[in-house]
């Protein structure tokens, strides 16, 4: 078992996302994260899925997804060939006297202050998934009151050369 990132170009049609997520639950694959949003074309969405599975299951997932009428393209994003980013919003409990300390810390970690309340601060961080995790760990001792992560999105690096062929050829 290992974790894989799969990128799916999907027709922007009613029910299209449900068909993909249904396929995962029905065949017993576990989705760690799923991010979906528009692409350069309004009629196409892109899904970035993070799944924990064997190589054999990954091949099955890709082949089964390809049979969905709304799925245009399925690609595995390999870590060395792709850029992956995630956005996190984290509300941390901070008494007024420790504000300066944690804000300085967050700046070092590349986070920004999104909102400041009387006894809490919400940070926003955009970065590689491991950076997001590191920041989360960093502020955890202060007391994380609320946290949301978008799940990773990714694209193949242009510097990795050529347009990727779809993982499954049809």
């Amino acid at each position: 078992m290992s974790t894989h990132t799969i990128s799916v170009r999907l027709e922007n049609k009613p029910g299209a996302l449900a068909r993909v997520s249904q396929l995962f639950s029905r065949r017993g694959y576990n989705i760690q994260s799923l991010a979906v949003g528009p692409t350069e074309r309004p009629d196409i969405s892109r899904l970035t899925l993070r799944v924990d599975c064997s190589e054999h299951s990954l091949e099955q997932i890709e082949k089964q997804m390809h049979k969905l009428v709304n799925v245009l393209r399925v690609t595995e994003l390999r870590p060395d060939e792709s850029i992956e980013r995630e956005l996190a919003l984290i509300t941390v409990a901070v008494p007024a006297e420790r504000r300066a300390e944690i804000v300085a810390l967050s700046q070092v970690a590349g986070a920004r202050v999104a909102d400041i309340g009387r006894d809490a601060i919400t940070f926003e961080l955009v970065g590689r998934p491991d950076q997001v995790e590191a920041f989360e760990e960093l502020v955890r001792p202060y007391g994380v009151r609320d946290l949301v992560r978008t799940g990773r999105v990714g694209l193949r690096r242009p510097s990795a050369g050529g347009r990727t062929a779809p993982t499954v050829q049809v």
């Binding site: 099955q60 969905l68 009428v69 049809v170």
Partner: protein, 572 residues
């Protein structure tokens, strides 16, 4: 034109000559369009499940897309079983359901159900049509998706107001489905590799499945078998794709397949899977299945290749093309000298002679196998084609073992979903597709009672079929498992031979009814049923204790075959 008329024009343009269904509130406008006139014959079923299985029987007998029509809510949910059945057996089906008005969708209105949601895991695709302008394109796409690639069911759910709306109907020439790209050619390198593997194999066996019939590739398979002299086993779903009388056809493998078919796979050094998918009812214990064999896997569906059993040589593409090209490649390779496989063919022949299907006749009771053999012999005397359908259970396995099919699309059964009640409505659908053929449903008493209300359909729509109820008074296959694996605790499986009285039930529906209590009455009753000119039910009261053998218990291997009592025990 109204949306309802557009649905029928689309059916006509897609070449549909028969559709099966039942009207109801949300589909009423479309039935009103039927009243206004169409070349599509509508067969009125008595239950939507029956309509769906009829459409399946029609599709399997004809090779065309089957069409079932139902209303919203319970109409749609009653179609779920046939949709699932068509999904599991790759039967092309377009199901059209009415949906409540667009303004009511999402409000839990009367007879509103999320039909596309409920069926999502068991359709190739589905559409909820809420805009009249989309309707022609959706109908075109529905038929295209159902019949291309690996065949299967689709659902078109049409809001009532769309059926009532007026618009300018233009049927598109092409589909707009950028994500639907089933393979249409075969990789030549893979074919060459396959041919080379076949050329060096000492003990090859073709393992042909239902995909061969779906792809209309039976002629190509026969040509390959003949030209390369390759022996074959044929699954339940594939039955008929090679003539059962063909010397190199070793019949069905699997749980109740023959010992020789299972051993052929078990001892092969090359398994050539063609439109088959290593189903657990065929393989048994996977690690012990064809343990010494390399696998070539031909399939239209890339997801089947390597799903259960790794394929050394995967060949994805349309089977008709693939098999024709493979035969040519094999001929080219064999020009360098064909291997001598006479020892392997002799071995297979020896197993076939030593381990035929068999059962013990007894004086007192009528054995179900005797009834099926009598049917087979009667069918052999007929000039017209005979098409068989079955339910699911012991009678189905005996039909697989004893019925002789010489032509494709002549054995229609619920293979993978195992839908009891499939046989009778499927027979009615097959008869609608092939009025020239005699259609015989071999059914069990448990199965028959699940859908027998459609005897009314057979009767009134003048689609005469012969239903032979192998009546052992029990849910026979379940009883067999209870006897063998549950210490003879027969929980809730006794149905009785006598209730209902099947012959009287048949008469009540306007069909001919016959009761057979012993072997002497068998032949004359079957002959009378065939000759009756109307639908007939033959109640064949059989030995309740007869079990279906050979049997490889679930999860066991071919070498663990349980034989019929008194058989020769030999370990291959």
């Amino acid at each position: 034109m109204l949306g309802s008329d557009a649905i029928l024009r689309a059916l006509e343009l897609e070449g549909v000559d028969v559709a099966f269904g039942i009207p109801g509130g949300a589909i009423l406008p479309t039935y009103d369009a039927i009243a206004r006139g169409t070349s599509v014959r509508h067969v009125l079923a008595r239950h939507e499940q029956g309509a769906g299985h009829m459409a399946e029987g029609y599709a399997r007998a004809s090779g065309k897309v089957g069409v079932a029509i139902a209303t919203s809510g319970p109409g749609a949910t009653n179609l779920v079983t046939p949709i699932a059945d068509a999904w599991m057996d790759s039967t092309p089906l377009v199901c059209i359901t009415g949906q409540v008005r667009s303004s009511l969708i999402g409000t839990d209105a009367f007879q509103e159900i999320d039909a596309t949601g409920i069926t999502m895991p068991i359709v190739k695709h589905s559409w909820l049509v809420q805009d009249i302008e989309e309707l022609p394109g959706v109908m075109k796409a529905a038929f295209h998706v159902a019949r291309t690639g690996r065949q299967g069911p689709v659902l078109v759910d049409v809001a009532k107001d769309v059926q009532e709306a007026a618009f300018d109907f233009v049927y598109p020439d092409a589909v707009d489905l950028p994500g639907w790209k089933p393979p249409h050619k075969v990789h030549p390198k893979q074919l060459r590799e396959a041919a080379r593997a076949i050329a060096v194999a000492q003990r090859p066996i073709i393992y042909a499945g239902g995909g061969v019939q779906n792809a209309d590739a039976c002629v190509e398979l026969l040509e390959l078998v003949n030209s390369a002299q390759l022996p074959a086993v044929v699954t339940l779903m594939g039955k008929g794709c090679l003539p059962d009388s063909h010397r190199l056809n070793y019949g069905a493998p699997g749980m109740h397949g023959s010992k020789y078919a299972n051993w052929a796979l078990n001892k092969a050094d090359l398994v050539i899977a063609v439109g088959s998918r290593f189903d657990d009812r065929v393989t048994g214990k996977l690690s012990a299945f064809a343990p010494g064999a390399k696998v070539i896997h031909f399939d239209i569906d890339a997801a089947e290749v390597g799903k259960i059993r790794a394929a050394e040589i995967p060949v994805v593409g349309p089977l008709k093309l693939a098999l024709a090209q493979l035969a040519a490649e094999v001929r080219a390779v064999a020009a360098d000298g064909a291997p001598d496989r006479s020892a392997w063919l002799r071995q297979l022949e020896d197993w076939r002679e030593r381990f035929p299907f068999r059962y013990e006749r007894s004086d007192g009771t009528l054995k179900p196998q005797t009834a099926i053999e009598a049917l087979r012999d009667l069918a052999a005397t007929r000039e017209e084609d005979v098409i068989w359908t079955t339910g699911v259970g012991q009678h189905q396995m005996w039909a697989m073992q004893y019925i002789q099919c010489e032509k494709p699309r002549s054995f229609i059964t619920s293979g993978e979903l195992g839908t009891m009640g499939y046989g009778l409505p499927a027979a009615i659908g097959a008869k609608a597709a092939r009025p020239d053929a005699t259609v015989v449903c071999i059914d069990g008493d448990g199965c028959f009672q699940m859908t027998c209300q459609d005897l009314a359909t057979a009767s009134l729509e003048r689609l005469p079929i012969v239903a032979v109820v192998i009546n052992n008074g029990w849910l026979g296959m379940v009883r067999q498992w209870q006897e063998m694996f549950y210490d003879e605790r027969y929980a809730q499986t006794h149905l009785t031979h006598a209730v209902p009285n099947y012959a009287q039930l048949a008469e009540a529906y306007g069909c001919a009814g016959f009761t057979v209590e012993n072997e002497d009455e068998l032949e004359s009753a079957l002959a009378a049923a065939f000759a009756s000119g109307r639908s007939a039910v033959v109640d064949v009261r059989c030995d309740p204790e007869e079990k279906c053998f050979p049997m490889i218990p679930a999860g066991a291997a071919a070498v663990d075959t349980i034989e019929a009592p008194g058989g020769e025990v030999v370990v291959a």
